[in-house]
């Protein structure tokens, strides 16, 4: 199986590409997307666009990234306040290879 690029920088770059498909390139020219960027406050992402992002993450990373389980642990206010960095960290940890000798 090919090694997935899982560095936070690579995941951030992937996420920015997916976000561009949802909010449009113009928005991302105005806002420099980094770990502290808030989806709602800074990118004006609506709840339904968050659903679209989850969809794209599912398509991009297959079953390895469970966005819905991640979101299920949060209430609506926490979801709305989520930063790009929190999502990047979650994706990176989902993609991290299992340590040799770990119990499966």
């Amino acid at each position: 199986m090919a090694e997935e690029a899982i560095s936070p920088e690579a995941v951030l770059a992937e996420l920015v590409k997916l976000l561009a498909q949802i909010v449009g390139d113009e928005m991302l020219i105005e806002v420099e997307v980094g770990p502290a960027t808030r989806f709602n406050e800074d990118l004006a992402l609506e709840s339904i666009e968050f659903v679209a992002l989850a969809e794209k993450l599912q398509q991009r990373y297959g079953g390895r990234v469970d966005f819905t389980a991640f979101v299920a642990e949060m209430d609506i206010d926490q979801i709305m306040a989520m930063t790009v960095g929190q999502l990047v960290d979650h994706i990176s940890s989902c993609l991290a290879p299992v340590q040799p000798g770990a119990v499966t």
Binding site: V23, M27, A44, L45, E46, S47, I48, F50, V51, A52, E55, T68, A69, V71, A72, E73, D75, I76, I79
Partner: protein
């Protein structure tokens, strides 16, 4: 599966599976409200707890809403019920489903339950307005909004101010209210009669905020529907889904535990 073509319209669908095993899990379908609502209002509040409690959860955007297609016509509750019936066919759901609805979504559910009683196992309707003045009230309110959007160029003004989210919302509402037959279709609706409501066989729970303007609907449903449980929550108005999510979640899980055999308290997701 994200998109389904049902009843000739492309619908955005999200499905949340319960923890394994999912074979034979009770199907719970969420139906959102009108104009500015979409599946995200349930997706981020009740849908995950219900899935974790054992429900095979289906959420979708009504035609004209969210990420579904916006056809120019077909916005009656009869058409919406046909869309839902077609959606369930496409998803190969043949067992009766448990419906959880917000506001206008409750009207769609009532239409479905009357047209296809074999489709509906139970209904939890939050803040549904079904009295005989609702069509006029809705059509009038929406007409005022439609005129304001059209004449004041609100969407364009907001975009110019860099208010992306509000501009998008205004453009969406403008397109739906001024670019489709939605208002005319609503105005042409027949309200539900007590005789019709008396034909409902499925158990119904109706949930209202104490300060809602819809208490007449609450009383009509309680009086007419054979198996109807009424919950009124103190201190709340129409926006219970947003303002009292925790209360509604407890009520919904308790209701679905009785009706569908789900666990009353959702399992805590493992971190």
């Amino acid at each position: 599966m994200a998109e389904v073509v049902a009843n000739g319209v492309r619908l955005h669908v999200q499905r949340l599976a319960p923890p394994a095993p999912s074979e034979g899990a009770p199907v719970v379908v969420f139906v959102h409200g009108l104009i500015l609502d979409n599946l995200s209002s349930f997706y981020y509040t009740l849908a995950n707890p219900v899935a974790l409690a054992g429900g095979d959860v289906i959420l979708y955007d009504l035609r004209g809403h969210g990420l579904s297609e916006v056809p120019a016509t077909g916005y009656t509750t009869h058409q919406a019920a046909s869309d839902l019936d077609g959606l369930l066919d496409c998803l190969e759901v043949s067992t009766p489903v448990h419906l959880v609805t917000n506001s206008y979504g409750g009207l769609v559910a009532l239409r479905l339950a009357l047209a296809h009683p074999e489709r509906v196992a139970s209904l939890l309707a939050v803040e549904v307005n079904c009295t005989d003045d609702w069509t006029e009230l809705m059509a009038n309110t929406l007409t005022v909004i439609a005129l304001a959007l059209e004449h004041d160029g609100i969407a364009t003004a907001l975009a110019a101010l860099g208010q992306r989210r509000m501009a998008r919302t205004a453009a969406l509402a403008d397109n739906l209210l001024n670019g489709t037959t939605l208002i005319d279709d609503l105005a042409s609706e027949r309200p539900f009669t007590p005789t019709e409501l008396a034909r409902l066989t499925a158990p119904v729970c109706v949930f209202y905020g104490e300060h809602t303007e819809l208490l007449a609907s609450a009383r009509l449903l309680e009086a007419s529907v054979p198996s109807c449980h009424l919950e009124i929550v103190p201190g709340l108005g129409h926006t219970v889904l947003r303002e009292a999510t925790d209360v509604l979640r407890r009520v919904a899980l308790s209701w679905l535990a009785d009706q569908a055999g789900l666990t009353a308290e959702a399992a805590t997701p493992t971190i």
